[in-house]
């Protein structure tokens, strides 16, 4: 109920800001960016293949939304409209990457890129909440295993250093990270499924 109320409040803030921008108050666009940047960047992060600058695509999406604001129908869903723009921006970028001759041998398997593109076309409102769910799931991890995530993602410590600190082999650390990511994936998907069922 609280989440629903927050969403309504956000929509109201967005619509107010959009009206102001349309009246020439450019600074009000900052409200829009602040309200949506985290979700947009998170969504893009999980759908962009390696080699794509997530923030650059996110900024292009905001700028495209800004320059085409007249095309948005007030009172509909601005966030979805923005994500649709982002989807097309991302497609343009991946098309560019596909044209780079040795991209696939240097950066990513072609199949990975294609599957990510397929998933990015399946826009659901819930996708935008993944980051929140991930945070909840992280908070549920035990301190002993959470440290691996912190070392790897927060502190960017090399695997060898992680192995030294935990007195385990590098292969074991890799395995630990693999298992943790799988557990987090299951946790996020369970929460998404629950949300979808509500």
């Amino acid at each position: 109920m609280e989440k629903h109320s927050d969403a309504l409040d956000e929509r109201q803030q967005l619509e107010t800001a959009i009206a102001r921008v349309r009246d020439g108050d450019i600074k009000s666009f900052e409200v829009i960016v602040r309200l949506l940047e985290r979700r947009l960047r998170a969504w893009l992060a999980s759908h962009t293949p390696p080699g794509v600058d997530v923030d650059e695509v996110a900024q292009k999406s905001f700028i495209a939304a800004y320059t085409r604001l007249d095309d948005y129908t007030s009172g509909t869903d601005f966030a979805s409209w923005l994500f649709t723009i982002a989807h097309y921006q991302l497609r343009t970028e991946t098309t560019r990457l596909r044209r780079v001759a040795d991209y696939h041998t240097r950066f990513a398997p072609d199949l990975l890129q294609r599957e990510l593109q397929r998933r990015s076309a399946e826009l659901t409102g819930l996708e935008q909440d993944r980051l929140d769910y991930l945070q909840d799931c992280l908070d549920g991890l035990g301190k002993n295993v959470r440290r691996y995530i912190d070392w790897r993602y927060e502190e960017c410590i090399p695997l060898s250093e992680m192995a030294r600190r935990s007195e385990r082999s590098v292969a074991a650390v890799k395995k630990q990270l693999w298992q943790l990511r799988r557990a987090l994936r299951d946790c996020v998907q369970t929460r998404l499924a629950r949300e979808a069922g509500e």
């Binding site: 450019i26 999980s46 700028i63 599957e115 890799k174 996020v188």
Partner: protein, 465 residues
Amino acid sequence: MSDRDEFEQLWTSYIEGELDEAGIEKLQAILSADKDLLSTAVDEYQIHRLLCANATSDQASRDAFVRSTMEKLPADREQLVGDVMQRILPNIFENRSGLRMLRRAAVILLSVAAGVLLLAVYTSVTDRSNANVAKITSKSGPLSWTGDGGRVVDDLAAETPLSGGTLEVLLPDSWAKLEFRDGSVVTLAGGSLVTFSDLGQKRLHLRRGSFSANVVPQKSGHPMLVHTRSATLEILGTQFKVESELDTTLLNVNEGLVGVKRLSDGKRVEVPANHRVVASADRQLEPVLSPKSVNYWKSQLNLGAQNTHGRWLPASDLLEARLRAIPYVYVLPKRKPITLYLAAMPISQGENPPVTFQSDSRFRVRGSLESSSGLYFGFSVNLAGGGFAGKFVGHIPAENITDSGEFTFSMGLKDFQLDPALVKLKKVLPQSPEGLIVSHCWCVSEKPAGLEVVEVELSQPDALP
């Protein structure tokens, strides 16, 4: 080792950036043989990327992102290409920055030298009769006004009252509407420079460019006088358009009667409504019926750079003549400059018949790009009787342009929208270019992509060239 185990090892190495090209090929082979593993890999990758995003979503990095995004916005939501277009097409024959520096230097010297005396003279003159001769009622793009005493004002706003002086519409795609106290209106086209005064009789010196005018009846014996390099026009009350070039003056009269005196020999003719005359030392001074507008136009870049904007490149054995886009740096206060790459050309200009945009008119643009880029294509329109009527612009996404480097695209009425830069004038400008005279067209690339325009054609499906 099972495929799954091998996959797990390869994948974790890949995620850590430790997989070489051979490893990536191996991973690709495993993934292509097992859809479940592919799904697992993508799930894993998404969570990995989400963890990275989560790690960098602290308030400082979020603030930095917001700040950087706001800095990258065009000056006005409604602007981007449109507003840039109002500042481009600088006069290729003149170094404006140098001229402005000289002007400013002159102002400083005058100020120092004349001091109090200048102020006294200025007050005396303005008190007498020359104050508030006219005012700018509307405008688009930058203007520069040099008033009494050499005072230069670059940031003229609408409704600014002006005493006699020199008004310059700084860029060719800009315009300004000047209204005299008696209601006569002069609409200056972009790139024009005019000096005006009204000491009982309106005098305009058109140094460069063109303007259209709607002049209310003037006092007997005190016609409005328009001086150009090659002619003097006497107007008692009429509607006309005048274009001044180095050696010729082209006058189109829509209503009333305008007297034209050629300076080279003093010969005088009267030009009635719907007639035009070319005043030039080497041409016959004879009014002829104004040509009817046409619906077809095609660029002729093979003839050279005729008031075009861009780098004109002549035809070679292998390539046609073309116009290469040149960069324009759009400097925004307190923002990062934006650079766009532009090629532009006039359509209805000089002695050619005016070209009208019809509901089924289509632009066909042929050119080439050296690298992928989205393009903007736009055109400006005038009213049949003269006067600015708007600009329309359309976007061609990069993905709609083939990889070969050469492109041809076609755009019709529905592909264009009123230039967003003119949103504040939306209520007073026509919402559609239908029936209006097409003045200029331009093509802009979003990136330094080596844009070259080979040909632009405006036609209707059944129009004959």
